[in-house]
C-alpha cells in the first residue's frame, strides 16, 4: 500500500466494483483536494453513484483503495465506516430521504442528535442553518406539507448543519425544475465555499458541472478525458423500413 499524497482529502486508486456481476466501476482513480468542489459527470449508468458510494464508505470496492485524510477506508470495519459517515461525511441524494415522522427542524438536527449533541444545541444549530437557507418559516411543519424543492433544501441543510468535512451530493437536483435547481445548487456551493467544506457532486448535467472547480468525466465505469459519445445515426433502419418485421 502506498500512502496517498498529503493535500488530498479523499484519494482512491483503481477502484473495481460490480453489482452481482453487472459491471459498475472498472478501475477508477481519483483524488479530491481539500475545500474544492469536484463534479463527477457522465450519463446514467456510468458509475457515478457507485463511485460516490465507494468514496463515502457505504460500499467497499471489490478491488482498489480509498483513503480519507491518510486513513484507509477500504479496510475499516463496518462500524467505523458508519461512524465516519456520521461524523465526517454528509450525503445529499436526489430523493430528500427525510424522516416523515419528524418535523423540519428535527430532520435537520437529526445528524447532530445522533452524534450525541444536547437537544438545545442541536436545535440552535439546525435553526441557524434553516434561516440561512431561507426555510426557517417551515421549521415546525412535517415534510409531507412541503414542496419537493423545499424538501431538497432541507436535505441540504441537514447535510450542512452537521459541519462535515466532505459532502457527497448524488444528483441533488435530478427531480427539480430549473429555477429550483439553480437555487439549491447555489445554496450548496456558496455554503460549502464559505465553510471550507469539500463537495463531491455527481451529475449528468453540464450546466451543473460548470459550478465546480474541477470535473471528472466517467463513462461506463472508467475515467475518460471527455465524454463524447459517437454521433447518433439517423433513426436506425428508418430509410430501409422492411415489412418483414
Amino acid at each position: 500500500m502506498v500512502a496517498p499524497p498529503d493535500n488530498d482529502v479523499i484519494w482512491a486508486r483503481s477502484l473495481h466494483h460490480s453489482h452481482n456481476g453487472s459491471p459498475g466501476l472498472g478501475g477508477v482513480s481519483i483524488g479530491v483536494r481539500d475545500a474544492e468542489i469536484l463534479a463527477v459527470t457522465g450519463p446514467r449508468g456510468s458509475g457515478k453513484t457507485t463511485l460516490l458510494h465507494c468514496l463515502s464508505g457505504r460500499l467497499v470496492p471489490q478491488q482498489g483503495e480509498v483513503w480519507f485524510n491518510s486513513v484507509p477506508v477500504h479496510t475499516m470495519p463496518a462500524r467505523v465506516r458508519e461512524q465516519l459517515r456520521r461524523e465526517r461525511f454528509g450525503w445529499i441524494a436526489s430523493d430528500p430521504e427525510l424522516v416523515p415522522e419528524l418535523t423540519v427542524w428535527e430532520n435537520t438536527a437529526l445528524p447532530l442528535l445522533l452524534r450525541g449533541f444536547s437537544h438545545r444545541a442541536a436545535r440552535k444549530t439546525a435553526t441557524e442553518w434553516l434561516e440561512r437557507l431561507d426555510i426557517a418559516a417551515f421549521a415546525r411543519k412535517r415534510p409531507h406539507a412541503l414542496l419537493q424543492a423545499q424538501r431538497q433544501r432541507i436535505s441540504v441543510a441537514r447535510a450542512l448543519a452537521a459541519q462535515p468535512t466532505v459532502i457527497f451530493a448524488d444528483e441533488p437536483t435530478a427531480t427539480l425544475h430549473r429555477a429550483d435547481r439553480t437555487q439549491v445548487l447555489r445554496t450548496l456551493t456558496t455554503a460549502a465555499r464559505s465553510h471550507g467544506i469539500t463537495v463531491v457532486l455527481a451529475t449528468h448535467d453540464a450546466e451543473v458541472a460548470a459550478l465546480a472547480d474541477r470535473t471528472v468525466p466517467l463513462l461506463d465505469g472508467r475515467c475518460v478525458a471527455t465524454v463524447t459519445l459517437p454521433a447518433k445515426p439517423e433513426a436506425e433502419g428508418r430509410a430501409a423500413c422492411s415489412l418483414s418485421v
Binding site: 459517515r85 456520521r86 450525503w91 424522516v99 416523515p100 442528535l113 445522533l114 437537544h119 409531507h144
Partner: protein, 386 residues
C-alpha cells in the same frame, strides 16, 4: 393460479403464517362441528345454541388473524411493477381474498376429516372413534349444516381481507419517490368511547352478578345457565379496549418524545405515534383477551371443575390468534418503515440506536398495557368472586 404461483416463490415465513391461518381455521371448524354434533345428539338441549355462540369468539379472532396475514403478505402488496401491467390494488385485493380462501378452506377440510375420524366415521387410522361418545356419534350429521358451518370461516375471512385491502394506496405513486409523501394519519380519537364502553361492560358484569352471588358463571359444556349479561359485559369491555388501544398507543408515543428528547426517544416516540392505528387495535384486543384469561383463571383456577378439552382448544385459538395478529401487525409496520430505516442507516445512524428505539417502544407499551390488563382483569373478576 397467480395466487398459487406467487405463493410458491414467497419466503418460508410467509408460508408459515398462511399455515397458521389454516391451522386456526381448522380449529374453529372443528369447534363448530363439535357444536353441531352435540346439537344433533341432544336435540332438546338449550345448551347447544350456547355452544355454537361461544364458537364465534375464536371465529372472530381467526378472521382478524387472517386479515392481518393478508395485509402483511408481500406477494399481495401493491407493487409498481404489477400496477403497470394492470394488477392494481383492486385486483390484488381479489388475489389476497383468493389466497385467504385457499388457506382457510384447507383448514376447514382438515377439520372435517379430523372430526369424522375422531367420531369413528372414517376408519383405518389410530384413534378411530376415540371420542365417538363425546362428539355425538350415534346421531347422523346434517350435511347442509356441516357444510355451511365449515364455509363460515373461509367466506368471512376472504370477504374481510378483500374489504380491508381494497382501500390501500396505489403504488404507482412510488415511482415519484418522496415527491408524494402520504399524509400522516390524524391522532386516533377513540379514547372516550373506549373508556366509556369498558366502564359500561364492567358495570353490566357487576350488575348481572349481583343476583347470582357466589356462583360464578359456567363455561360451556358444564352448565347450561350462562348469564347472558356477563357475556355482554365482557364483549363490551373487549370492544372498548380495542377502541381505546390506538389512542393509548398514541399517548404512549407522545409521552416518549416529550421534554427535550435525544435521537432515540425522538425516533421511538414519533414512530409509535405514527403507527398507533396499526399497532393499537390488535394490542387492545390482546389486552382484552389476556384480561379475560386472567379473570377466568381467577374464577375457575382453583376449582374442582377442570377445563374441558374443547374449552381449552377455544382458549388456545383465541389467545394464539390475537397474539399472532399483534406480531403480524408489528411486522407489517416494520416493513412499512423499511425505506426510512434504510435512509437513516445510509446517513450513518448506528444500528444500535434503531434497536434501542424499538426496545424502548416495546418497553413503553408493556409498561402501559400490562398494568391496564391486570386492573381490568381484577375489576372483571371482582363482582364474580365475591
Amino acid at each position: 393460479m397467480l395466487a398459487l404461483r406467487l405463493a410458491r416463490g414467497s419466503h418460508p415465513l410467509v408460508l408459515v403464517r398462511r399455515l397458521l391461518v389454516a391451522a386456526a381455521s381448522a380449529g374453529v371448524g372443528f369447534l363448530l362441528l363439535c357444536a353441531l354434533g352435540y346439537a344433533a345428539a341432544h336435540p332438546a338441549s338449550a345448551g347447544s345454541v350456547l355452544r355454537l355462540l361461544w364458537c364465534f369468539v375464536p371465529l372472530a379472532a381467526t378472521v382478524q388473524f387472517a386479515v392481518a396475514v393478508a395485509r402483511a403478505d408481500p406477494s399481495t402488496r401493491p407493487r409498481p411493477g404489477l400496477s403497470s401491467v394492470g394488477l392494481g390494488p383492486v385486483r390484488l385485493s381479489a388475489l389476497a381474498a383468493v389466497s385467504t380462501a385457499v388457506s382457510t378452506t384447507l383448514g376447514s377440510m382438515v377439520a372435517l376429516l379430523f372430526f369424522l375420524h375422531l367420531r369413528g366415521d372414517l376408519t383405518g387410522m389410530p384413534f378411530d372413534g376415540g371420542a365417538a361418545e363425546f362428539l355425538g356419534a350415534g346421531s347422523p350429521l346434517p350435511l347442509a349444516a356441516a357444510l355451511m358451518l365449515l364455509a363460515l370461516v373461509p367466506v368471512a375471512a376472504s370477504t374481510a381481507s378483500a374489504l380491508a385491502l381494497r382501500s390501500r394506496p396505489d403504488p404507482a405513486r412510488d415511482a415519484f419517490g418522496s415527491e408524494e409523501l402520504p399524509e400522516p394519519a390524524p391522532a386516533p380519537a377513540g379514547l372516550p368511547w373506549g373508556v366509556a364502553l369498558t366502564a359500561a361492560g364492567l358495570a353490566v358484569e357487576a350488575i348481572a352478578s349481583r343476583g347470582t352471588a357466589g356462583s360464578a358463571f359456567p363455561l360451556p359444556g358444564r352448565y347450561d345457565s350462562t348469564p347472558v349479561a356477563v357475556l355482554i359485559g365482557w364483549t363490551l369491555t373487549a370492544v372498548g379496549l380495542a377502541m381505546a388501544g390506538p389512542s393509548l398507543t398514541h399517548l404512549c408515543g407522545r409521552a416518549l418524545q416529550a421534554v427535550r428528547p435525544g435521537a432515540v426517544r425522538l425516533l421511538a416516540g414519533r414512530v409509535l405515534m405514527n403507527e398507533a392505528r396499526r399497532i393499537g387495535r390488535p394490542l387492545g384486543v390482546v389486552c382484552a383477551v389476556l384480561s379475560a384469561a386472567v379473570a377466568a383463571s381467577a374464577l375457575y383456577g382453583g376449582d374442582e371443575r377442570p377445563y374441558g378439552p374443547l374449552t381449552a382448544l377455544g382458549a388456545v385459538l383465541v389467545l394464539g390468534c390475537t397474539t399472532a395478529t399483534l406480531l403480524t401487525s408489528a411486522l407489517e409496520a416494520k416493513h412499512a418503515r423499511a425505506h426510512t430505516v434504510e435512509a437513516l442507516l445510509r446517513m450513518g445512524a448506528p444500528a444500535a440506536v434503531l434497536r434501542r428505539a424499538t426496545a424502548l417502544r416495546a418497553g413503553a407499551l408493556l409498561a402501559l398495557f400490562a398494568p391496564l390488563t391486570w386492573v381490568i382483569a381484577q375489576l372483571a373478576a371482582l363482582p364474580l368472586t365475591r
